[in-house]
Amino acid sequence: VEAAVGHGSKLDVCVLQLLHMSVFSQSFSPCGRYLAAGNNYGEIALFSLSAALSPDATVQSQKPVLTFTAHEGPVFTLISSDCHLLSAGNGEISAWSWTELIKKVTVSLNTQQPGKQHDLIIPEINAMIINPRDNSLVVGGGDNNVHILDLEHGVFKSVLQGHSDYIHCVSVREREADILSGSEDGAVRIWDSRMDQSVHCIEVYKYESCARPQYGKWISCVTTDSDWMLCGGGPSLSLWHLRSLSPTSIFPLTGCQRQAAFHQDMILAVGDGPFVSHCLLGGEVKAQIPCTPQSLNTLQLNTNSTEHRVLTAGGSSDHIEVFTNLSYRAFSLSF
């Protein structure tokens, strides 16, 4: 959002833009001192965590140090590799160098498009994840397929086909080199990345304990801890044991959960509702920490730095909530 200086109409437009802003994605820099956040206007903002967390932080420290337009459409997903920030939204994947970004140079290094280049309809990209085993990028999007991009060479290696509807989220199982994808068709597919084949297909909505037909069958979040998997969306957020492919705990959270994460012996989940839910592995909801945005889309824990080890959550607001202590909201960064 351009700095609002001067004209009243411009100010109003800016204010309106802020009002309608949603944050879809976040990623921490490899050094852990910066946070990149992508919104629905196609902008990426860079926040300095060290400034915001310092003892003499001011309101200005909670504003981005850099904002630039990365894509034409919303930035649905952001992911950081060792030195690059990868962003994707309306069908293009752009790569940015972190060091350059920190220097406020916003030139994208590379832009890719999965699938056939000459397609008229460019499907959006909803989720990306880096598979550290073979340094590849797993991409899932609107064309119902999972594409794998080799980061070394910058070319697409393979396409995993199987879903019948667009893909919401992807995750990797590091030990087994499996890829998990959750889709609008209600299935979670487990792919063997070496064989490029779907090994399992879990149709979550078919399990009575999880199913919530009033919300639908779509899977909006998938995350895995090698032996365990969390998935949720239309059906309730549930913890699955991957060896037996059966649900172990169901979390009684109202609304659909859009992102979930394992943290120590707890599960953090965000979705509908202005709070971050803390759940225990057994299935009970331990706490719901209130936040400002009415619903949250993304949740990230900064594991790259201990000094700035914060939890950030963004959603249907121009504010990104920062938690220094998981149990209460400390302050907000804002676009």
Partner: protein, 632 residues
């Protein structure tokens, strides 16, 4: 106490024998004792000092030493000894509190004791010698009476020196490598502070919420000096910071019951002493840990409650400008509720704790009120026995009660009863009085019916009053009491009460002289005529029929009846009770007979005709008397 090698009695005798004034002798002994103690210090053990002091106490009791000496000696001892030995001496002081409170010692010694205890308290550290400090305080509480003003914070002053220091800017931050000179500058952070100048010890730094940190510890300044809250600007700051802090407490719920229970058990098992911190540890690194600690939260929330109690309460020494406005009062009310709710949520035993706190604060209100009244003594005064006696009221003489007074009224104690009693004392008599005679006479009652029966009036049957069942019933009753026609046997069969009454009415119409009526034609005239004829047969002159029996006639009959009056009585339908009454009333049979006739006349009233008497006489078998009556 060590066995006395010192022969006290002898010594005392020798002492008092000398020819000097007692006071001078006393001061000599005082000085001697002090001197001995001075020599003994550091050379002998505690027990010896104690025995010397015991000696001085006995001396005071005997009167050979001034009362202040034991206290002076104690003071000297405590001043010269290190703290660990002071403990022992102090135990001695505690044990003898009853001695100190006794009359001979109290006035002389209380100030010395107070000074001594205060000196000790100043020497001791509140966090390291907590128990000893407590013992001293308890001793003082036992020594002085409840309303001793030296123990009170009369003017409700605050300890303004109790400043909580925290890192206000980066220079003082302990995150850097700053060293000891910082500490001396006045960071009064006590033991437990992480060794930031210990370079060997590395620990991962964690992100710190400075915003909350600063706001949180700033609140302590308001708790230190509550009077600030009355100023508008400081109040706004206080409000803002409090709201934020309490919001954090609210969202950060302590519900880890498992962990805290385990911790408690560990503590109990290890037998560790409860640590008491006199001042808060305010390092920012501890903030997270402090927030997750139940006891810490309880401290802060309790501080809020105490502050609110002060702000709301009436304290005599508050200046008149210290008044809360409406907004402030409302905010305080809401926040108090929130604070209690938060207290209840803190495990373990949150509910119990909250109730306890509420109770204690209520008690504090009482103490505050007591102070406002100038600390009145709690000793109840005894009643003095020589209170002047109230003059007793002269009671009314009994005669007045019983109707012998000037009013001749009998007082029943109640106005209504008195009125009723004085109307008529005898209930039975009152019932018999004429005014209670409610039975109407025949002519009164039947006047209307007779008039209706008159064909000239042309009253239709259905409107006749005899058709009214109520009227009919009453008519029957009246007839049974007053009219002989009621008892006359008749062969007529009456279809209804109304018909019967019609016939009765016609009979009565003939009899009752007042009501002018023509001959009423009835279908039952034959019977009536028969009846009349029967009567006529027994009566020579019809005019005699309705004649009343006169007194003379009654006298004559009575004389003739004599003792046989009882036979007539049954025919006159006299009750047995009445007969008995007649018998008791008079011995003379003639009189009795007269009484019988009189009674009969009374009862019959208008029906006491010669006719009926003659019938009765005939029925009884006194036909001669009947005849004579007829002739008369």
């Amino acid at each position: 106490m060590s066995p006395s090698l010192f022969n006290f009695i002898d010594a005392k005798d020798k002492f008092t024998v000398r020819n000097r004034k007692n006071t001078e002798k006393k001061t000599t002994l005082d000085q001697a004792l002090r001197g001995v103690l001075g020599d003994q210090i550091q050379k002998t053990s505690c027990d010896d000092y104690l025995s010397l002091i015991y000696l001085s106490i006995d001396a005071v009791t005997e009167g050979i030493c001034s009362a202040t000496t034991p206290f002076v000696l104690l003071g000297d001892v405590l001043d010269c000894l290190p703290l660990d030995q002071c403990d022992k001496i102090f135990s001695f002081v505690e044990e003898n509190v009853s001695t100190w409170k006794s009359n001979s010692f109290y006035t002389a010694g209380k100030n010395y004791l107070l000074r001594m205890c205060n000196d000790l308290l100043r020497r001791l550290s509140k966090s390291q010698n907590t128990v000893f400090c407590g013992r001293i305080q308890l001793f003082l509480a036992r020594l002085f009476p409840l309303s001793e003003k030296s123990g009170l914070n009369l003017q409700s002053q605050f300890n303004l020196d109790n400043i909580t220091v925290f890192n206000k800017n980066e220079q003082e931050s302990t995150l850097g490598q700053k060293h000891t000179e910082e500490k001396e500058d006045g960071m009064e952070v006590e033991e437990g502070e992480m060794g930031e100048d210990d370079s060997n010890f590395t620990f991962s730094s964690i992100p710190i919420d400075y915003n909350l940190y600063r706001k949180f510890w700033t609140l302590q300044d308001y708790f230190r000096n509550p009077v600030q809250c009355y100023e508008k600007f400081s109040w706004m700051t206080f409000l803002k910071y409090s709201d934020e802090t309490l919001a954090v407490f609210k969202s950060y719920k302590l519900d880890d019951m498992q962990a805290s229970k385990r911790k408690l058990e560990e503590l109990r098992a290890s037998g560790g002493e409860h640590v008491y911190f006199a001042k808060f540890l305010t390092s920012e690194k501890l903030m997270d840990l402090q927030l997750s600690d139940s006891n810490f939260r309880r401290h802060i929330l309790l501080q809020y409650l105490i502050l609110f109690q002060y702000l709301k309460g009436q304290v005599k020494f508050k200046s008149s400008s210290c008044v809360l406005n409406d907004d402030q009062t409302v905010w305080i009310e809401e926040t108090t509720k929130l604070v209690y709710q938060l207290l209840r949520e803190i495990p373990p035993d949150g509910d119990k704790f909250a109730t306890m706190v509420e109770h204690i604060l209520n008690t504090e209100d009482n103490w505050n009120g007591w102070k406002n009244e100038g600390c009145p003594s709690f000793v109840k005064e005894r009643y003095s026995y020589d209170k002047p006696k109230r003059p007793t009221r002269k009671r009314q003489a009994p005669e007045d009660f019983l109707g012998k007074g000037p009013d001749r009224k009998i007082f029943m104690g109640n106005d209504e009863l008195t009125r009723l009693w004085n109307l008529n004392q005898d209930n039975m008599e009152a019932c018999k009085s004429d005014s209670r005679e409610f039975m109407p006479s025949l002519d009164e009652f039947f006047a209307e019916a007779i008039e209706q029966a008159d064909p000239a009036n042309m009253v239709e049957d259905e409107y006749k009053v005899v058709r009214n069942p109520n009227y009919g019933w009453r008519a029957l009753r009246l007839l049974s009491r007053r009219s002989p026609h009621f008892f006359q046997p008749t062969n007529q069969k009456f279809k209804s009460l109304a018909d019967y009454l019609d016939s009765m009415v016609s009979k009565l119409a003939k009899e009752l002289p007042d009501i002018p009526s023509e001959e009423i034609k009835t279908g039952e005239e034959d019977d009536d005529d028969n009846g009349d004829n029967l009567l006529k047969d027994s009566n020579d002159s019809p005019s005699m029929q309705s004649k009343m029996v006169t007194n003379n006639q009654m006298d004559e009959i009575a004389a003739k009846l004599g003792a046989e009056w009882k036979a007539l009585a049954s025919h006159l339908e006299m009750k047995a009770a009445e007969l008995r009454e007649i018998e008791t009333d008079s011995e003379d049979v003639d009189m009795q007979a007269k009484l019988l006739l009189v009674a009969w006349q009374d009862r019959e009233g208008a029906q006491a005709t010669v006719d009926s008497l003659v019938n009765a006489l005939n029925a009884a078998g006194f036909s001669q008397i009947a005849d004579s009556l007829n002739e008369a």
